[in-house]
Amino acid sequence: MPTIVFASSKGGVGKTTSALALATVLARAGAATTLVDADPNQPLTRWAERFPDSVPPGLSVRGAIGNAAATVIDEAAVRDPFVVVDLEGTKNVDVSVGLGRADLALIPMQGSQLDADEAANVVKLIQVQEAVFRRTIPFRVFFTRTSAAIESKGLRGISAELREIGIPMLQVSLMEREAFRLPFRIGASLYDLERSDVRNPMAAIENAEAFAMEVKDILMPAPEADAHGQ
C-alpha cells in the first residue's frame, strides 16, 4: 500500500542508490514492489535494461519522466503493495507532484551543512504540500554514505541540530559501501554479490535490511514498538 518517495533538491546524495537498496530488500522479502524511476537520467531504468537478470523477482522497474510519473505511480499503487519512487535530485516541479503521492517521504543527505540546508528545503516543501493535499505527509531525513567505523563530529553536530529543530530522522543510515554502488556497474542485485565482487556483501545486506525494517516500522508500527524518530 505505501508509496515511498525519495526526494532531494540536489543530486549526488545517494538517493538512487538508497531507493534501489530499499526496493531490493522489499522484493526479496516477498512484497511485490514497483520502483519508479522519475529521474530524467533514468539510472534505474538503464540498470534494469542493462542487467535484466539482476532485477529480483517481485521487483518491477518503471521509468516515468515529468507528467508521466504521477500516472505511473498511481497505476503501480493499485497493483503492488509497495511503490518506491526515485525523484530527480533538483528543485523540479515534479518533486511537488511526487510528494503528493507519498505515504512516506525519505530525504537522503550526507553529513554536510550544504546537504542539511537542502534537506531543510525539502522539509519546507513537504509542509507546504501537506496544506495543499490536506493530509499529513510523513517524512524522515536520513544519512547516506556514513562511515561504518566512526561517526564524525560534523555528522553528530548536524544530526543534533536537525533533531533540535524537530526534523524526524531515521536511526539507520546507509553506510559508505561499495556493495551499494556495484550493482550499477557490474549488474547483480545486492543479494547476488559475492566476496570476489566486494569485500563484505553481508554487511551491506544487513545495513539495507535494517534500513528497510525501520521504514516498515514507520509505515506499520509493531504494537510493542516505540515510535521511531519522532
Binding site: A31, E49, G63, G66, N92, E209, A212
Partner: protein
Amino acid sequence: MANERPTAKLDLGGFRPKPAVEAPVDETTQLRAIEEGKRLGFDREQNTGPIDGRVLRRRGNVQMNMKVAPETVQQFKQMAAAFGDQGKFLAELLRCYKEHGHKKSKDS
C-alpha cells in the same frame, strides 16, 4: 555466497495494494501543489524550450527518417532530451509498446 543468506525477517504481509477506487489526485490540487512548490524555488520545469536534436544524436547508429506532425517531432525531442538519448528513448517506447500493447489514452 550472499544468496545463501536467509531472506530478511521482514513481515510485510499486512501491506496490500491501494484500493482501485481510491481517486488519484485531481488536476486542480496537482496544479496548486506545483504552484506552491514554485514559491519555494521548486520551479524547474521539464522539457522547456526548443531542443536541438543534434546534441542527442550518437555515432554508430543508422538514420531513420519518417514524416510526422511538427508537434510530434517537438514532443519527441523534448521527451528524448529529458531521457538523455534519442535512440534509447525510441527503444524504450518500443519496449513499453511491446510490454503493454496498444491502449487508448484517457484523452482519446
